[in-house]
Subunit: 511 residues, 2 copies
């Protein structure tokens, strides 16, 4: 069709002066204008609108709030810290405001709700829009929920993985093997990764480990490692560490390997949801982007683990293995016992203490954590051809007992920016046994809940310290576990939950 202008003014400049208002909105970009701001008037922007804000090549979609106050000038745009960071702007510089492009890929998400499978192209468009910050949290929640509810097939999960790899950086190491491990989680305290990296690297293999922060758990490997050394390394810094020491444990988000994963995880955490498709794509996109060639997967199952049934674990393992092989990643899947927490600590700093004890071969080091780390390391050494079949475990044990692993871990920590001592909590509260008996059950989920209510992982020193294990006999009034917190409010909150859930650790009279 042709067209005839009719009363159209020339477009106004749509620029505002950027002002840093030191507003912390976590990672949500917010732009604040006066209600009488001329740009908003001419563009028809009202409060809570999503607005495209541009500074040169840096563009974000921000949520607009408006204020009736001279605290802000009519020509000024107050920017939250998150917006300020992403726009890489200076005080007083001009930002350009405009309407975001229509979010066309959202119709593909709606199509999946109505049962239309995702094509490779569809997932590419969706993930590109997510990576570009064009999806509001509501849209990401919609995407995660439909993936979880509808259940993606192998082709879709492979395409999702591929799209997530494509949305970030990828690493080439120019050598093989590059090994990695991953535990599907759900087991509080099961923090084997730093141990495995230390053992493997001490054996001369390269293991450039990127880890997530907690999704729904009281601690992710990145949270725990952060209490021992810096983990926010960029690609260049990470490469330097690996080339020097053969291993590292850094936060995946900081190196922009599959950055979309962290955007999905942030929303999944609010939903308290772990969906298979997201889990598979999340795990594998990180490994593949990191240039791994050999991968060992730990899938613990148990009544209160993330995976309830052995059959579930086997299905998920099969899905992970077959998707991984689409990308030429050699994968071994281990189905392990997930009936109780591993180690003593639950929460970043408390888990870090367990790691130090194992590395130091302390007499009181948690034996279960140690054995898991040796088992995984052994499998990895065999899979990558560094040990003959059946000899991996022995080699791993020798490497740990000799102190070589401890030395390697310290070297990695200093290469990452310096080893440090995990913090101690400001407040503690000890839960005592109401009766003598035998520990019959430990509820992973509700123990995690207590640790989270106590402030973990946000407060690194917060969490739970276990004083008993499955099968232990304990006396009346004997300490069962200690709640650690930094704030009184959180300690009380965790304590109330512990009281109203007296059976989190079930003790049955021995006679």
């Amino acid at each position: 069709m042709s067209a005839r202008p009719n009363g159209v003014d020339s477009q106004p400049s749509n620029n505002l002066r950027a002002r840093r208002i030191a507003l912390d909105t976590h990672d949500q970009p917010v732009i604040l204008t006066r209600r009488d701001c001329p740009v908003c008037r001419s563009e028809g922007f009202s409060a809570h609108a999503r607005v495209r804000v541009q500074n040169g090549n840096h563009r974000i979609i921000a949520t607009l709030y408006q204020i009736d106050s001279d605290w802000l000038g009519p020509g000024e745009a107050g920017l939250s810290e998150s917006a300020w960071r992403r726009l890489q702007i200076n005080e007083g510089a001009e930002v350009h405001l405009s309407h975001p492009q229509p979010l066309n890929s959202l119709s593909l998400v709606r199509g999946r709700i109505w049962g239309r499978r995702f094509t490779r192209q569809a997932l590419k468009e969706i993930i590109t829009d997510v990576a570009g910050g064009r999806y509001a949290d509501i849209h990401i929640a919609m995407l995660l929920t439909v993936m979880a509810t509808a259940g993606l097939d192998e082709g879709e999960v492979t395409a999702l993985t591929d799209a997530m790899i494509g949305a970030g950086d990828t690493l080439k190491w120019g050598r093989e093997p590059i090994v990695d491990k991953h535990c599907v989680g759900g087991l509080p305290g099961n923090r084997t990764t730093p141990l495995v990296v230390a053992i493997i690297a001490a054996c001369g293999l390269w293991m450039p480990k990127t880890s997530s922060r907690a999704i729904t758990s009281p601690a992710g490997t990145a949270d725990t490692m952060e209490t021992l050394a810096p983990v926010d390394l960029d690609l260049k810094a990470m490469r330097r560490v690996v080339e020097r020491e053969g291993g590292c444990v850094v936060w995946g988000g900081a190196v922009r390997l599959s950055p979309v994963d962290d955007m999905l995880i942030r929303v999944a955490r609010v939903m308290d949801l772990d969906a298979e498709a997201q889990l598979v794509a999340s795990v594998l996109s990180k490994k593949i982007a990191a240039g791994s060639s050999h991968l060992v997967l730990d899938l613990p199952f148990g009544p209160t683990a993330k995976i309830r049934q052995r059959t579930e674990a086997e299905e998920l393992g099969q899905r992970l293995k077959s998707v991984a092989e689409h990308f030429g990643l050699a994968t071994r899947v281990l189905i392990t016992d997930g009936s109780a927490p591993v180690g003593r600590g639950i929460g970043p700093a408390l888990e870090a203490r367990d790691i130090i004890a194992v590395l130091g071969n302390h007499a009181n080091a948690p034996a279960d954590l140690r054995e898991r780390a040796l088992m995984l390391s052994g499998e990895l050494l065999e899979l990558a051809g560094a040990a003959a079949a059946g000899e991996g475990h022995g080699l791993a044990e020798k490497t740990l007992a000799s102190g070589a692993a401890a030395a390697k871990f310290e070297a990695i920590c200093s290469a990452q920016g310096g080893m440090r001592k995990p913090p101690s909590s400001r407040r503690q509260y000890v839960i005592l046994a109401k009766q003598a008996g035998v520990v019959k059950e430990m509820d992973n989920r509700r123990l995690s809940r207590v640790a989270k209510l106590a402030g973990a992982p946000g407060a690194p020193a917060a969490g739970i310290e276990l004083h008993c294990r499955l099968g232990d006999s304990i006396e009346r009034e004997q300490p069962v576990y200690t709640i650690h917190a930094d704030s009184t409010g959180e300690l009380n909150y965790a304590r109330e939950y512990a009281f109203s859930n007296g059976d989190i650790i079930a003790i049955s009279a021995s006679d």
Copy 2:
């Protein structure tokens, strides 16, 4: 288990001084504190946390943002306008901050994701939490998406409807029949409700109509009616209008009939999603809460209507009818033609002009809108026993032609607070035919998109004015439709979309 305190301080008072900071966040409650605010320190609140804020009996869950600035005192809590309204607080009064209770009902939503059907009790708990403002937008998006993807069965939809009724006020009129109508929508410009109310009320039946604002369309009935009279009436005011005039057209949100519906709709709008379960519960909860006894449903279907296939329309109609009958609501379902927009205007004010033309029996009044209104009114009159079978349409036509309906409409408008003239747009742009030919197709969805990009319904005068109908022959350069907008930005935005979608109204050469 018993417990032994250990280093627990006495809980601090957790109070802050409320300050109205004139911050417009639309309907999202926001609380702003300084980062060094002692309450946040002791409770472990960080930016973007959801915090329970209490003023006497008034409680809200607000999103916390933090600011490093002396603009706010360490003991102050800056409240957004939405938070200020809901807390009904005065400047300087104290608000109490605490952790929200754990959102237990969310596990029921997750359960539905994993395939566990909703029980009546589950939906009651979920809807109660939504009504209490305990669901973040992410949680509501999760709920809407799982309902749409999994598809609720009749028992679940009935329970959802019941829960939504229970979360709000309900009306008793002490007489029968109380009639109502509803159109499932998707047809731009199909604004029959004000006409039907006028005709029905003029015939002596009571029709206390509550309408929604737009969900994903450029105008809801409440948006359109608002350009002719106030619609934000409370229950008392609404009752006064109906008892005096026998009918009204007010916004459902203002009368708190099924208030949860409006909370779901706000998020559904961002998702651009219409799900059957939500649609059925949304429609019926409003009617039942409003005390209706007889209901006529208009379900238009067409290639670009909300409902694409006749079979779909029939299934939805069946679902609506059977759920309605669980509540003793006599229902008649009409499956109608939805292949093109109805009337000339698309957008609140432009649709209002069509209504006035029909009521005034103007020669140029849109005939299709008039006929639809007569058909629906006729069916209602018969269903409610005010006309014998086959005589409803005639009675409706007599009532309209005589001017009785127009007089009744004016009386209703003044009873609602005074009839007013719909606003005119500040900017227009005329789209012309690129070639001569016959109008073969009109795309409801993309026409709605243009109207929305032009600012409807937020800008009441914005939208589209159609200059042709399906089947019309038109000349080259003849106006096809006019885009109306208030802001240059929006006009340009709508215009660009219209250009890149030249086939929104498909004209095929006549030869």
